[in-house]
Amino acid sequence: MSEKYKFDTMSLHSGHVPDKETGSRAVPIYQTTSYVFKDTDEAAALYNMEIGGHLYTRISNPTIATLEQRLASLDGGVSCVACSSGMAAMHLVVTAICSSGDHIVASNKMYGANINLLQHTMTRFGIETAFVNPNNLEEIEKAIMPNTKLVFGEVIGNPGLNVMNVPEVAKICKKKNVPLAIDATFNTPYLMKPISYGANIVIHSLTKWIGGHGIAIGGAIINGGNFDWGNKEKFPTISGSHFALNGISFWEEFGPSALTAKIRAEGMYNFGPSLSPNNAFYILQGIETLSLRMKKHIENTKMILEFLKENEAVSWLRHPDLHDHPDHKIAKKILPLGSGSIIVFGIKGGRDAGKAFIENVKLSSHLANVGDAKTLLIHPGSTTHSHLSSEAMKMSGLTDDMIRLSVGLEDIEDIKIDFEKGFKAAAKISSKRS
C-alpha cells in the first residue's frame, strides 16, 4: 500500500491544503448547491465525467471531496464516495453491483438494518441473499452461487461482536471472483484496514467513531481498487455499457476506480443520498482526532472489561479481546490494537433487571447510537433489534438480558460509579425475583 505519510499525519492533512484564495487552514465549508462553469467546454466535460470537478452537490462538493479523499487515504483505498448515512452506503454498493436475479452472500450476525435491507427490501427487487455464519468458511464458500455478485459482512458484528475472518473470507471471494464488501464501522481504519487483508469494498457509518461526537449522520464507500470487474457477463453494471456518458464501460475508462465512478454516476445521480457539506465538515473534525480517541476508547474498554468481569451483577460478558470469546484468536490477528469499544453483557435478573440498570445510570446515555465520545447504552432486544423475529434475534446472538455498551472517553472511574448505581437497581429486581 503506497503511503508517504503516517496515519496521524494523513488524519490531519489528506485531501486538503490551505485554501489558495484565502489561506484558510481549516477545510472550508462549501455550502453551495452548484458551481459556475468556466465555459461550455468545461460544463460538458464535467457532465460527461471526462475531468474532475464539481457541478452539483448531489454528485460532489469540495468539502465532501476532502472528506472522501481523507477516508480513501486512511483506508488505503483508490477512491471513496461519501453519502448521507451508513445504510445509504450499503444500498449504493448493492445497487451498483446487483440487479434483479442476482444473489448476495451475507453474514447472519449483522446490524439489524443491514439484514432488513437484504432480507426484506432487496428481495422485492429480485435480489436474493443467503445468510451465513460469518465464521464458517465452508458455509460461506458453499453459499456462493454462479449469480452471486457480492459477499458482505462486518469486521466486528453488531451487536453480537463476532469477528469475521476477513483474510480467509477474502481468499474465498478471490477464488470465486466475487467482491468482498466489509462494514468496518466498529473498527475504523485506525484499528484495522480491511483492504490490506484482501477486502475489495469498505463501508463505514461515519456517524460512529469516525465522526466520533454524535453530531452528524454520514456514510462512506471506499473502493479498494483491487477487484477485476472485467467479466462483462457477470458484472454488466460495471464493465458493460452505461446508459449515459456515451455508453462507456466504467471498467475500461476508470479501471481501479470503476466501482466508485459507477456509484457517483448512477447512485448519487439517480438516488441522491448526498451528505451535507456541513456534516462533512463535522466529520472531518472528528477524523483529525481519530487515533487519539480510538486509543482512549480502547484504554477505557480494557478497564471497564476488568470492572465488569469482577461485578457480581453481571451474568455474562462478551468482547473479542477476552480470552473466552470464540473469535479471540482471529481478533488478536487482525485487530492487534484492540477489538473496538463495544462491550455486550447480561445482567442477572433478565429483561426487567436490564431495564432497571438502564433507567438508573445517569452519566451513561440510553440511546440508539454507538461510537460517540460519550458512553452510551442500549437494550437491543427492545430497541435496535425489536423488529427482528425471535429466531432472527437468536441468529444475531441476542438475548433479553443483553446490554450493549459503547465505551466513551470519560474518566473511567466516573463511569464505574455510574454503573454501580445501575447495578444496585438491577440487583433489587433480581433479589425480588429470587
Binding site: M1, S2, E3, K4, Y5, M10, H13, S14, G15, H16, V17, D41, A44, A45, N48, M49, E50, I51, G52, G53, H54, S60, N61, I64, A65, E68, Q69, R70, A72, S73, G76, G77, V78, S79, C80, V81, A82, G225, N226, G230, L245, N246, G247, I248, S249, E252, E253, F254, G255, P256, S257, T260, R264
Partner: protein
C-alpha cells in the same frame, strides 16, 4: 476497445467511441509499468474535443496480452505497426515518461506518422538506478510503492485531487498491479538501455510541446529542459507537481495540449 493484433488480444482506449476516418488522431503513449489509465482525464476529454483518441496498452500492460517489448526501439515498432493496423496514417503523439522515449524514437524513424509531439514529464534518456530495477525483480509491489510515492509531490501524496474522492497514491499502485509482475522490470531496463534520445531529438523538424513537472523525481526537470534545448522548436511549460502530471494536473495539461493542437491546424 479490443482487437486481435499480431496474434494477441490488444486493448486500446478510444474513450468508448468508435474511431472516425476524417478526424485527427491523438495517440497517448503510457510510461513504465503503466497503461491507458495514466490518461483517464485526457482520453475522453479529447474525444469530446472532436479528436480520435488511441491510447494503447502495450503488450503485457493493462488489458493487452502478448510478450512484452524489451526496448524502446521495439516499443516504437509495435506502436507504428498497431497504428498501421488501425489504418491511422498520421497522429499527434502524447508520451508520458517512457512514452516520451518511444515517441522520440518514432519521430526519428517514422516521421511520416507524426503530425505533432507532446512530451509529458519526459527526457531524452531515463537512466534507472539499480536499486529500483532490483526491487522490481525481487519485490514488484515494493517497486510500485516507491515509484508511486516518488512520482507525486506533496499535493498528490496528501490525496489532493481535482477528481472528487480519488487517492492518487493507492490508485497509481492499483494501476501498476494490473500489469504482469515482470512488466515494470522490462520497462525500466528498456528505459535504462535507450541511448538514441539525443540524436532523435535533434532531428525533429516540427514544432513540439514539452510539459514538465517542477518536482519530478523520476525524470528530473533539468533533464526535461535539456531535451527542450535539443529540439529545434519546442515550447515548454513547467507545472508545480510531480512526475504523474497527467493525474496531478489534468486540467492544466489538457489546456496546454489543446492550445498546442490549435497551433497545428
Amino acid at each position: 476497445m479490443y482487437t486481435d493484433f499480431k496474434g494477441n488480444k490488444v486493448y486500446f482506449s478510444t474513450g468508448g467511441i468508435n474511431l472516425v476516418n476524417d478526424k485527427e488522431t491523438l495517440c497517448f503513449v503510457h510510461g513504465a509499468g503503466q497503461n491507458h489509465y495514466s490518461f483517464t482525464q485526457q482520453i475522453r476529454y479529447f474525444v469530446s474535443q472532436g479528436y480520435n483518441v488511441v491510447a494503447p496498452d502495450f503488450p503485457g500492460h493493462g488489458f493487452s496480452e502478448g510478450n512484452q517489448t524489451t526496448s524502446i526501439e521495439e516499443d516504437m515498432l509495435w506502436l507504428s505497426e498497431l497504428l498501421a493496423f488501425l489504418k491511422i496514417e498520421k497522429a499527434t503523439f502524447i508520451g508520458h515518461s517512457q512514452g516520451c522515449l518511444t515517441i522520440l524514437e518514432l519521430a526519428e524513424k517514422k516521421p511520416e506518422l507524426v503530425r505533432g509531439l507532446v512530451f509529458v514529464a519526459g527526457a531524452m534518456s531515463i537512466p534507472v538506478n539499480d536499486f529500483l530495477i532490483d526491487t522490481s525483480i525481487d519485490n514488484p509491489e515494493k517497486a510500485y510503492d516507491l515509484m508511486v510515492t516518488w512520482g507525486q509531490d506533496n499535493y498528490g501524496s496528501f490525496s489532493i485531487s481535482d477528481w472528487p474522492g480519488h487517492n492518487h497514491l493507492a490508485e497509481g499502485n492499483a494501476v501498476m498491479k494490473m500489469n504482469d509482475s515482470s512488466v515494470l522490470t522490462t520497462d525500466l531496463k528498456s528505459c535504462n538501455l535507450y541511448d538514441n534520445g539525443k540524436q532523435a531529438a535533434s532531428k525533429i523538424k516540427i514544432n513540439c510541446l514539452a510539459v514538465l513537472a517542477k518536482f519530478d523525481m523520476m525524470t528530473p526537470l533539468k533533464k526535461g529542459l535539456q531535451m527542450v534545448e535539443n529540439i529545434k522548436q519546442c515550447d515548454y511549460k513547467i507545472l508545480e507537481c510531480g512526475h504523474f502530471l497527467p493525474i496531478e494536473k489534468p486540467k492544466e495539461l489538457n489546456a496546454l495540449i489543446k492550445n498546442y493542437l490549435n497551433t497545428l491546424k
